[in-house]
């Protein structure tokens, strides 16, 4: 962490040349992945899965309380890093943990650190099918005061619960469909926070398919997130150092690609764009990373 605290995204090429090992460390530390992006996939018992994503998001506009797009006087360049480890504790339960590191810049100010970690449990809604799961995770704040660009729930303990459905055909009724056709998936959930701040609800719809061959996948996702409850819903967002205020909603589209690099490793790229919102910044994010599955 000491090394990375002096890291600047603009001179990363120099570090990348040094060693692949350093690159992996970079992936682990410089990535972000929203909770709503969590995979619904159950791991086989004894199977491990690790995802690292890194990327940058930018925003120089925001939506006010009347959903009008405004120029933000504080152009933000946030660098995020994310690492998730999943383990198939049994056929019926998968354990996972997330660690995220962020470096948020807005105007001349900058903050960086690990805001929180998550630990969670995933289970099956249907004992025979995968991709139809429930998930619960606990957000534990680590360095809750590091950011000057806060959002609701920041620095609080949180409970995230959700359900995920992949609408794939029954593998025994239509085995020919497996791996051949694209499929829809739908998820919904909520994040509940302590401290009297607003909670969040989210839902997303995603289309996934293969492109060219089964090694190359793409996904198009539309995610909606809005806040509810909280002590103070009267704020009107005017940009600046915060990303949003307690009373907000946002719709985000994401285009993602993944490609099988070897038996166990896939490369991943995603591009996200906020399309509509209220009391929130309009952000564009590009992320890339690797995932590995092994047993």
């Amino acid at each position: 962490m000491t090394l990375m605290s002096n890291y600047s995204f603009n001179n990363s090429r120099l570090y990348l040349k040094d060693s692949f090992r350093f690159f992996l460390l970079l992936c682990a530390l410089l990535t972000v992945l929203q909770t709503a992006n969590a995979s619904p996939w159950m791991r086989s018992s004894g199977e491990s899965h690790i995802v690292t994503m890194m990327g940058q998001s930018r925003a120089d506009e925001f939506w006010d309380k009347n959903r009008r797009l405004q120029r933000d006087n504080c152009e933000s360049k946030d660098v995020d890093a994310f690492i998730r480890y999943e383990y198939g504790y049994s056929y019926y339960h998968t354990l996972f943990t997330d660690v995220k590191w962020e470096s948020d810049q807005c105007g001349g100010s900058e903050s960086k650190g690990i805001p929180d970690i998550k630990i969670g449990l995933r289970g099956r809604l249907n004992p025979y099918r995968n991709g139809r799961t429930w998930q619960a995770s606990l957000t534990i704040p680590i360095q809750g005061d590091i950011r000057n660009r806060s959002e609701p729930g920041h620095g609080q303990f949180g409970l995230n619960v959700g359900m995920y459905f992949q609408f794939k055909p029954d593998p025994y009724l239509n085995p020919a469909e497996l791996g051949q056709r694209g499929y829809w998936s739908w998820a919904l959930g909520t994040k509940l926070f302590t401290g009297g701040v607003a909670h969040k609800a989210w839902t997303n719809l995603k289309w996934s398919d293969s492109l060219f061959n089964t090694s190359f996948d793409y996904g198009i996702k539309l995610n909606a997130e809005y806040s509810f409850g909280g002590d103070d819903n009267s704020d009107s967002f005017s940009g600046g150092e915060n990303k949003r205020v307690e009373d907000y909603d946002v719709i985000t589209g994401t285009l993602s690609f993944s490609h099988k690099l070897s038996k166990k490793v896939r490369g991943r790229v995603s591009l996200s764009q906020d399309f509509a919102g209220r009391n929130t910044i309009k952000s564009t994010a590009l992320k890339f990373g690797l995932s590995k599955t092994w047993k």
């Binding site: 086989s44 004894g46 056929y91 004992p127 025979y128 593998p171 085995p175 020919a176 497996l178 051949q180």
Partner: protein, 574 residues
């Protein structure tokens, strides 16, 4: 007076030959009893195909009194997509069965005969190859009968120790889903993707990479010396012979083991996976699982059937090695008396093979119809067993001529008369870009000298080694000469008046009795091609082969329908 008969089959055929071997003995297979959580027991078979989870289980083998603690999981590749899963049992630490910590049970779900793998392993064992013990077992879970399985001994150090090869060797296996274990030089840089190092895990892939480099650099003309220096040559010869006899092409880039004996520094080949054998092949048009469940079969695949493989290519091109291969094939076919007494002698001789199949069939029959998942129907079972019998008879005669008495047209790689259409497998499903296979020769011709004492004759085309059918002599007044000729894969030369040619098999059979005053009573088995949906001789309007009728025209006179005991033996797409 010489007679010429023209036979046309319109909306049938086929076969008249029956297997009449009677077997009285019925033996019980050994049994495996599994006890596990009820939900786990259902989930094990119904869960998503590629889930690799394991579940706790207690295992009693041939006993319901002593149970060993273990875990059970699904094994295999495409058979995962069926409900009747192949299973892997791994005993907990400290437990074992006959020194083994793993028990592998093959579901045989794609083989309604439940015999193909067992037969292949029987040949492999008879040849004396280093190979696992194989036996049919009945599997019960929580006292419920799941089905008949094939126990295949797990290939680990104890197996090699049993064959006197010690425990210090290195074992490699191609990764099933990568299809690149073909020893080709272009894959040498990704051996860790293409191969699994099963043991010892600490040592890497360098011996295998060295071997692949050496094979690819070796001179074909000195390849026999290379093989002698680096391989257990018998294991290589036997591998090719087994694959030739069983028409197994589902190997060469996967489905085999390579073992390096560190005491002798020589490699051995251990064959693997013979479910898609004895003439079966995938249908390239259909999607899974219909492609794999192609019940049609063919017996004229060439010895080099299957994916390219650097070892295979150089082996068959080397004259000395090819001669050794032919010699081993003669042994298995019982054609070389000098080899009598050696392993697998006459194993594939039709009488012996037929007896072996018939005996095992009666045993298997008692156990295949009442399984819990993917039940086998009695009709499917009988048809598959019969197709194996028919395959062996035709394959035997094909190999006898194609490999052992070759003509200018007959070589190990000869597959001259078919150009398969281009298949587009992208998108929603396969489509055929050109409508039919291109056939390069329409006429097959065979002369038969029916000598006294012959009861069954398989006419063979002299140029292309293609069997044309089976003539079973019931009665004759004198030795006689027959000629059978077949015009293949074309519109029938003439037709009974009420038929359209698309209602008929696209083939004519001509039988000429060339001996004056001969009177012959015979059962005739006629054959037509139905290998897959892109290669067959069915007219477009033939919807149900079992309704085909056989029509006969003698000396150019009008057609008569000949309903000679028509036993329908065609099997088709499920």
């Amino acid at each position: 007076m010489k007679k010429r008969s023209l036979i046309t089959a319109c909306t049938i055929f086929l076969l008249l030959l029956g297997v009449t071997t009677q077997v009285q003995a019925v033996s019980q297979f050994k049994e495996i009893y599994l006890v596990m959580d009820e939900l786990d027991a259902k989930v094990l078979f119904r869960k998503e195909p590629h889930d690799k989870s394991s579940f706790s289980v207690k295992v009693g083998i041939n006993s319901q009194e002593t149970f060993l603690p273990a875990s059970i999981s699904v094994k295999g590749s495409f058979t995962r997509n069926f409900l009747k899963k192949s299973l892997m049992i791994k005993f907990n630490e400290g437990a074992s069965w006959q020194g083994k910590i793993k028990v592998s049970l093959n579901s045989m779900v794609t083989d309604d005969s439940n015999l193909r793998e067992w037969l292949a392993w029987d040949l492999i064992t008879s040849l004396g190859m280093v190979s696992p013990s194989v036996e049919h077992y009945k599997v019960f879970i929580n006292k419920e009968y799941i089905g008949l399985y094939l126990f295949v001994e797990w290939i680990d150090k104890t197996l090699f120790e049993r064959f006197g090869m010690g425990t210090q060797g290195e074992l490699f296996h191609p990764v099933d889903r990568e299809f690149c274990g073909d020893m080709d030089i272009k894959h040498v840089d990704k051996t860790d993707d293409c191969w699994l190092k099963l043991f010892p895990s600490k040592l890497g892939f360098s011996p295998l990479e060295q071997l692949i480099n050496d094979i690819n650099n070796a001179d074909v003309n000195q390849f026999d010396e290379f093989l002698e220096e680096n391989f257990d040559v018998d294991s290589v010869i036997n591998w090719f012979v087994v694959n030739t006899v069983t028409s197994n092409g589902d190997t060469y880039n996967k489905n085999y083991f390579l073992f390096l004996d560190n005491k002798t520094s020589k490699w051995s080949i251990i064959p693997w996976d013979y479910d898609l054998s004895f003439g079966r092949n995938a249908d390239p048009v259909y999607k899974f699982p219909k492609n794999i469940l192609n019940d049609n079969f063919q017996y004229y695949y060439p010895p080099n059937l299957g994916s390219p493989n650097a070892l295979k290519t150089k082996f068959f091109k080397n004259p000395k090695l090819y001669a050794l291969y032919q010699q081993r094939l003669r042994r298995v076919m019982g054609l070389d008396v000098a080899e009598q007494g050696l392993g697998a002698y006459a194993w594939f001789k039709p009488e012996n093979f037929s007896e072996l199949v018939a005996e095992r069939k009666e045993n298997v029959r008692t156990s295949v119809f009442n399984g819990l998942y993917d039940k086998t129907s009695k009709r499917a079972f009988d048809e598959h067993v019969e197709s194996i019998q028919f395959y062996s008879l035709m394959r035997y005669h094909l190999l006898k001529q194609l490999v052992l008495t070759p003509t200018v047209f007959n070589t190990w790689h000869w597959q001259p008369y078919i150009s398969y259409p281009v298949i587009n497998n992208q998108g929603d499903g396969a489509t055929i870009e050109s409508s039919t296979a291109t056939i390069h020769h329409p006429l097959l011709l065979s002369d038969i000298q029916a000598i006294d004492g012959d009861q069954r004759v398989v006419p063979i085309d002299g140029q292309y080694s293609r069997p044309l059918g089976v003539i079973k002599i019931v009665k004759r007044n004198k030795p006689l000469r027959l000629r059978m000729s077949v015009e293949t894969e074309h519109k029938p030369a003439s037709l009974p008046p009420q038929f359209h040619f698309q209602q008929c098999i696209q083939r004519d059979w001509y039988i000429d009795v060339l001996t004056d005053e001969a009177v012959l009573t015979t059962n005739i088995t006629l054959d037509y091609i139905q290998e897959s949906s892109i290669h067959h001789e069915l007219g477009e309007k033939v919807r149900n082969e079992k309704l085909l009728q056989l029509w006969l025209s003698v000396d150019g006179e009008g057609y008569r329908q000949k309903l000679i005991v028509m036993r329908i033996r065609c099997i088709r797409q499920r």
